[in-house]
Point group: D5
Chain length 92, copies 10
């Protein structure tokens, strides 16, 4: 099941640089694992912003919340979730 997820990252300017770098590295590793497992088929950077649009393919709402709330950057993100369905004109 597909969801469009918009993530805006706002890391407090008071966070020490090393801590920010550590969390970002964990975030990259975590997201690449989910991508390899097929839960996170699309991850695009929004031009000009520290934000992304992603498409998740998971079993349920609960599975999606589990995946998102485990993101190391989750506490520093503003996330919006839009559930997607098959479009009648889509050829896929």
């Amino acid at each position: 099941m597909l969801y469009l997820v918009h993530m805006i990252v706002e890391i407090p300017s008071t966070m020490p640089a090393e801590e920010a770098a550590r969390i970002k590295a964990e975030e990259k590793a975590y997201s690449q694992r989910l991508q390899q497992e097929g839960q996170w088929p699309h991850l695009w950077r929004v031009v000009g912003e520290y934000a992304n649009y992603s498409v998740f393919d998971v079993e349920s709402n609960d599975a999606l919340h589990e995946a998102l709330s485990q993101l190391p950057l989750f506490p520093y993100m503003k996330i919006t979730v839009t559930p997607l369905a098959k479009h009648p004109s889509s050829i896929r």
Copy 2:
């Protein structure tokens, strides 16, 4: 080059049913042609809305405007375009 495009369709309630049906059929044919040509790799229905999120893959801003402004439903759409770039964590 990728763009996320959000399209909200608002057909005036005063439009005769046959005219609406004709335009929708043209829209479907047009969109499926662009999908087959690879310009429109993703087309998803937003659950609960007469709207879609799409991803376009085209050569330039001008090419995208050309593709969108030729949509038969274009005069009845509220469209928002978000340019996308490669995300540093994406495995694609």
Copy 3:
């Protein structure tokens, strides 16, 4: 799987009264069928508005869009869908 759905109804003032009454009757019958089938466990009126908050319990995003887009009043509604997950503090 649960979704919170907010529906604001805006019937054009130009619609003849009988047509509006007919569609509303169809809407009531349709919604009560889905309620009896268990897809629509909660339906509440927003005080002071021609709007409702509902909770749907369906198999997937596609199932939800199917249920919503078949609403007789669908063309006259502004719908927002919020996917819900189990809350860690919920005793249910």
Copy 4:
């Protein structure tokens, strides 16, 4: 009497982790007591957000404010309250 309550939690990043954990534990205990007492029949997690939608069933506006303002996380919440009424199509 029913109310839909939307709670967005924003704990300051400067709060020490133990203090945050303590308040969250108190919050869980408090909310589960109200749920057992029947004042808080529904508590759902908004997918992707540190937020919930809840339904409260209380005697009056004052009773609702009493229940909400006693939430241990109240000082760190953005709360919106929507009074609900019986929907003419509801089969409950």
Copy 5:
């Protein structure tokens, strides 16, 4: 129980003048009845707008919706309801 109610009136410009006048007269009579019955203790005009702020004093959410949805101008109003509680500093 008190509620602050904000009502913005938008009568379609296509409505014949006599019909508008008739509905407004019915609205005035209806609102003055509720005021005399004590359900509508305050009714103020928002300066510069065809809108009002009112305070209703009714038994329940359902009673409020009943009172508001029976307003002759209800189909032409955008209504927002804010439930009120006793303020700890109020001397009333």
Copy 6:
């Protein structure tokens, strides 16, 4: 002359508890004085929020600004003022 005043209080989480308590006590005393003097006829708590809706009855815009800007909590408030006039349907 009447004004509807909406006050949202946001005390910085970094303020020491005693200082906050002191200011709140001053606020309560100040507001009760104005209420007794008849300048502040209505003060209601917005359910679920650290906010209030009030009605002020003062001589002029300047008098209202004087009253509001002297509120001990003024520096920590987001205030919106709506001038009110007599409603043609009001029986008061």
Copy 7:
């Protein structure tokens, strides 16, 4: 007493040209009378919009609503009123 008033004019495209011209002429005459009487000391056009910012100098909220609601274009205006007070740094 001073108020800043923002008026956005939206005349329905369905209104016959002569009727629109007549109302605009009445509006001009009415506004120039109030200006000569000193109630409307400032009237400025917002560049690029069929809108204006005005300053009114009147006795009370009720007087302002009387002046505004008598504007021939009142039914076709979105008006926002901001009450003004003397600024402590103003040399006037």
Copy 8:
């Protein structure tokens, strides 16, 4: 003097096609005249929208309003004007 001007065009769906075509032709001729005269140095299409961003170079606010309000499509446009100044880092 430079201004950034954002123009969103909304032609009513009820306008006959020939009338719309005539006004659009007048708009094109008018805008190209101003461009040739140097008042309108930049005119760009917003991708996916019946809207443009333009830069005007005119003597004064009044000159800008004169130029904009004479646009044949002016009655069907939502225009926002942002005055621009020389940027300290600009090499022009």
Copy 9:
């Protein structure tokens, strides 16, 4: 040339009181100089807010930015500028 300027002041609560008082005194002196020079003909307090509406009368956009960006409180202000033109109904 006239501009309406809306200034909302937000001084961080962490700024020492003396520093805030010093900047405010500089602001008052600076603004009164510009008023005496005729660049700042109107300065009004927005009732209930630490904000003002002003009218500036300056030669150009650049002159206005120069005047505003030199405000001692500039770093702590949210400023919105609306260029004004002569209104066809204004008697001034």
Copy 10:
């Protein structure tokens, strides 16, 4: 390919003055290099704001994100990107 880019700068008030000055100097040097290279043809100051509107001329979305995300002030900016296309009435 052209993009309109709106940049609002918000440097935290807690940042030491020297550090802010250093970053601003780096920003100026970086932006002037891109201007000289032709990637940044227009850079205008928004009157009254610590913000600019710019036009970028780059090969692709990715090139634009590269240019923007390398801005020394990038972490302290709110950036909005609007892709532009040739306008059918433009004489350029």
